[in-house]
Subunit: 202 residues, 2 copies
DNA sequence: AAATTAGATATACAATATGTATAGTCAATT
DNA sequence: AATTGACTATACATATTGTATATCTAATTT
């Protein structure tokens, strides 16, 4: 009755391929639908050509699948350019660049909007996504500290950080994006962010 | 077999009382829960001491109940003070006051947050709530036009309108409200709104 | 007083979803 | 040849929205 076990490159490769197909199918469905309402594991499984049970084997739950979809988008989402932006000498230009990067990210895949909707019905998934956003808050805090004069009050700094964090969030992008191209949204957010840090610099 | 029909003040009063009890129970549950996830008509009905079918008789659907809850909150929500604010001679002070009114409104009842979550799973409810928000956009547009110089470009005006509309939205309030008292949120939003219209005035 | 009516109830049913449980299939590996 | 990993087939439990039908009760009309 002992399990000998084995690791098969052929099998794990096939499984990974299957996994990717499911993620891709889920992302496509999220992208095409205008709302998360119609999204179900059954539909995803059929679109991916597997059984619903396979989805559970791979992702554990609906939540697991959604997280995998988000991480898949994030991986190929251009967020790696943040390092270069943060290395820029002028903190205000760095801020502009970071805003631009996140605007592009939010605009990249319409599935991101559906995933944010999913936060409403699944608190644990919401927490998972919020954790991933905390990295952005750290970036914003670093930039704010670089801009702020030493005389600036702590409360004012925290206010600026949270304001910029909110301005660069997906909900903000989504609200500004209706009937407006991404680069214009980006410009609006950049201006608002600069206005938020300006009082700290003097 | 003819319906004679009759209108009874006693009956309709009793029905209205029942209706109010259901709305109140729903609002209370939405207020107490941290997420819309656990909200169900069965729970509401039991909390109100009626049958689930009674809820359907009164509101037609889950969506109908949610709309009734929102309208109930809006009715006693201090939004009537907007008229006085809009009548203020200085448009910037009027803007400050309008921001203050909406901050108070969003902060008034935690159920509002849950209702906004419900927009994710019910597109038609989302549309109903968005329609109610369009009134706010009109206010913002009026104030922006009052501030803007005649030389200000149309696109810049529209940008300012949408930015302020987003800044005064519930999602924005919710993002800034974590660990911060309402009046500080209000101040942050006021400052950001003033910064958004400032470029138009010169 | 008797018939009717509005509102609520009781009960059942249909349709979806998520999630769990068990046994079986098939090819890769030992 | 036996075992194992991934997937499948089928069934089941649970929760939720929404609909259908018959019944109950108190208010109202004739």
């Amino acid at each position: 009755m002992k399990k000998r076990g084995y690791v098969s490159s052929v099998r794990s490769a096939a499984a990974a391929e299957n996994r990717d197909r499911v993620i891709e199918a889920a992302a496509k469905l999220l992208r095409e639908d205008a709302s998360i309402a119609r999204f179900s594991l059954d539909t995803v499984a059929k679109a991916a050509g597997v059984t619903r049970l396979t989805v559970y084997n791979q992702f554990g739950s609906r939540r697991g699948l959604l997280e995998a979809v988000f991480d898949g988008i994030a991986r190929q989402g251009g967020l790696h350019e943040i390092a270069d932006a943060m290395a820029m000498p002028d903190p205000l230009m760095a801020l502009d660049r970071v805003v631009e990067i996140f605007c592009s990210f939010w605009a990249r895949d319409a599935a991101i909007g559906r995933l944010h909707e999913a936060m409403a019905t699944d608190p644990e998934f919401a927490e998972a996504l919020l954790e991933r956003n905390e990295r952005r808050r750290k970036l914003v805090r670093m930039l704010t500290e670089r801009v702020a004069a030493k005389t600036a009050a702590r409360r004012a700094r925290e206010g600026a950080v949270d304001m910029i964090f909110a301005l660069t969030s997906y909900p903000m992008f989504a609200m500004l994006n209706r009937g407006r191209p991404t680069n214009e949204v980006c410009h609006l957010v950049q201006t608002a962010c600069r206005a938020a840090v300006e009082p700290l610099s003097r």
